[in-house]
Symmetry: C2
């Protein structure tokens, strides 16, 4: 998605440890007009896949997931991190290492919100090592739900998680793939 | 908002410690059609206030904030909890006690996303003791931004946070206010 590549080149900031900050439109400030464009691109990619539910993980996945879901008229289910008083014991869980925060989280979804009747699209803001995506795939599998694929806003191609999952047969579509990222250069992978 | 009161009565579950679980449409599964309705109600309440930005806090405030923001064509800024590698030191912060999780969090917003030029609407999913709302008000004040008011999906009126803030002169509009909540009864405050 050319517009996203341009926005990353213009507004993205690279921090030590391969951290790309896109807080101006995706990770702290949410650019609603641009989120609508990204949602429309996800619809272009997956609109004919018969998806009845979008699965993501809190917090920063919610905005991009909801942007696509509004256009597809399907609900979003977001996995929660850690434990809180309003989570029942009846849930599907997976362990996920956070690349940005350097921590390991348990993510989970109440069993009532996923089932074998669901045809799921996984949506997330970032894909780096692929740990969050693997966790969401494990949760969908535990629920016997069908996963049509994943739609990611920004993939750090140089970390390999996306290509590893593609080799495993998972359809992974990323709106922008960074094959190289330094303080001064961001190189995108050509896509159709 | 009658439709929200009916939805809470039908799908809400009361848990020990005054916890209301509305995971089926707001806190884990996001009912996109209903979120659009709640967004439209927020526009009805604040559409003529000249708001140029919506402020909320991750994670469960993002969906309702974004639903209103899509209709108002303004960006959302969400405060983050705790610290992460992609947060700079230059931020506005406040301490917030979470009613649901029983923990104290620092919430913060990068300084670049709030300024004295902003006319802000605060949006959140729940208002109980009012701690999150007070934290967001403190952050807006630190940025010298104008706050036109707050729009809350569900206020637990019996916990008093909303009325306390109203007495302080803050405009607080809640789409549903619960004046009483037990395992068997939920009583709503009459509203226009």
């Amino acid at each position: 998605m050319k517009a996203l590549e341009e926005k990353i080149a213009k507004e993205g900031q690279v921090f030590p440890g391969n951290v790309l900050k896109v807080s101006s439109f995706l990770n702290q400030q949410l650019d609603t007009a641009f989120l609508k464009e990204m949602g429309a691109e996800i619809v272009r990619l997956y609109g004919d896949s018969g998806v009845n539910k979008i699965l993501t993980v809190e917090a920063s996945g919610i905005a991009i997931a909801l942007s696509a879901a509004f256009l597809m008229n399907v609900p979003v289910v977001f996995a929660k991190k850690g434990n809180s008083k309003n989570m029942t014991d009846e849930k599907y869980s997976a362990e996920v290492k956070s690349f940005t925060k350097g921590t390991v989280n348990t993510i989970s979804v109440d069993r009532e919100f996923l089932s074998s009747k669901d045809k799921i699209l996984i949506v997330d803001d970032f894909l780096a090592d692929g740990n969050a995506l693997k966790g969401l795939l494990a949760i969908a599998k535990a629920a016997n739900a069908e996963v049509v694929g994943a739609a990611i806003a920004i993939e750090k191609g140089f970390q390999g998680g996306g290509d590893e999952l593609r080799k495993m047969g998972v359809r992974v579509e990323s709106l922008a793939i960074l094959d190289e990222m330094t303080d001064s250069t961001i190189k995108f992978r050509p896509q159709n």
